[in-house]
Subunit: 220 residues, 2 copies
Amino acid sequence: MARKRTGLSPRHKKILAFLESFLSERGYPPSIREIGDHTQISSTSVVNYYLNQLEEMNYIERESNVSRGINLLKTSLSNTLVSIPLVGNIVAGEPMPVPASDFSYYDPDSGIDVARSLLPAGDRMEDLYALRVHGESMIDAMVNDGDIVVMKKTNQARNGEMVAIWLNDRDETTLKYFYLENGHVRLQPANPTMKPILIDDPSIVEIQGKVVLVIRQLDQ
Amino acid sequence: MARKRTGLSPRHKKILAFLESFLSERGYPPSIREIGDHTQISSTSVVNYYLNQLEEMNYIERESNVSRGINLLKTSLSNTLVSIPLVGNIVAGEPMPVPASDFSYYDPDSGIDVARSLLPAGDRMEDLYALRVHGESMIDAMVNDGDIVVMKKTNQARNGEMVAIWLNDRDETTLKYFYLENGHVRLQPANPTMKPILIDDPSIVEIQGKVVLVIRQLDQ
DNA sequence: CTTGACACTGAACATTTGTTCTGTTATTAT
DNA sequence: ATAATAACAGAACAAATGTTCAGTGTCAAG
């Protein structure tokens, strides 16, 4: 046996390196012949041979009968950025903005870029939006003026999730950990030194969304 | 003239949206016929017609006579991702770890990915490292258990910057806003309801680094 | 030595795919 | 209304490209 069981042969590495550089430069994958030209492999069938091995080893995915149908897995999956629309401010004294179900596709003038690895896996990105915290009224949620909260659109929450809530009786938006306990709602501040809010009637809490990520930039 | 000078027509947007989703799902660009199928354009020449316009408007680049030779430009700009080494925990009761000056390569698995747009512009990425906050002793800095703080390596601070400090007399690491005022150091908690620490002798504060970013992931 | 796996060659072939061309329909300006 | 330009249809064509296959060479194990 000439092929090592452990790791990649020099040709495998050369092909992967070329795939990555070509892709980042041109934005589309190379053809089999282009791969061969740049890795000193003279026959298309040999390139095909190595590509099949790389697919078997899960470095790439291929679509048969599709030209340049190569999907580089290792780098492309981990290096994904998501642009989340920053749709407004969240203030204690007023209802927070929630984007419509179909917010227009191409207006990410004011979007914040977040690595997908920071977000919960398997979430639909279309349901995510970001708000900038305005004022110091959410310090009991350990959220400061200027922080950015990334929200996931939802009307219901499971116990233990941090949610944005509109409290009808106080005319107030707040960020709290949500617990529904035998008919009563307990809203727990993130700051462990502060006491929870207990609400007997669950109907006066309107869940606006679920907090997915908090980002605080210390600029200057 | 039928074509609007301002902005993109619905078909332009539809094509761009399809390009982006196809590319992120499959890892390679769609063919002209695939674009047509998914945008209700029946003729390849019409798709070609729109692609040429999008290239003229600098939304894409095309390589002639190359199948799937489309490079989506707008998204590649936001493609700057930085991996910051997560070197340990920060606990109030013990000194925090500071990576050595020499470029010791870290395990890329234990790094966190951050969009460069979230970081201060022009910073040397080599000076950045991340710590996970352990325990609830930093809630006066609005930082919670489990939060990730991205630090910049430095031994000195300017007024108003949030820094990690080792207090000799208390044997304690703390995160505070730093102010040097005529020979005295004032350490201001991020939480505006809490009082500052005043220190007459600046020599007992050891600045470990400057806080650049705080990230809180609300998993589950 | 023989065998079998792996690595590789070269070419033919079928399909995919971009390009081009002629013509038609819609929209706008004069 | 008329002309001009943009938007679209359909088909034919040529090039790019993936696939397949019959061989050749190499190397290590039996």
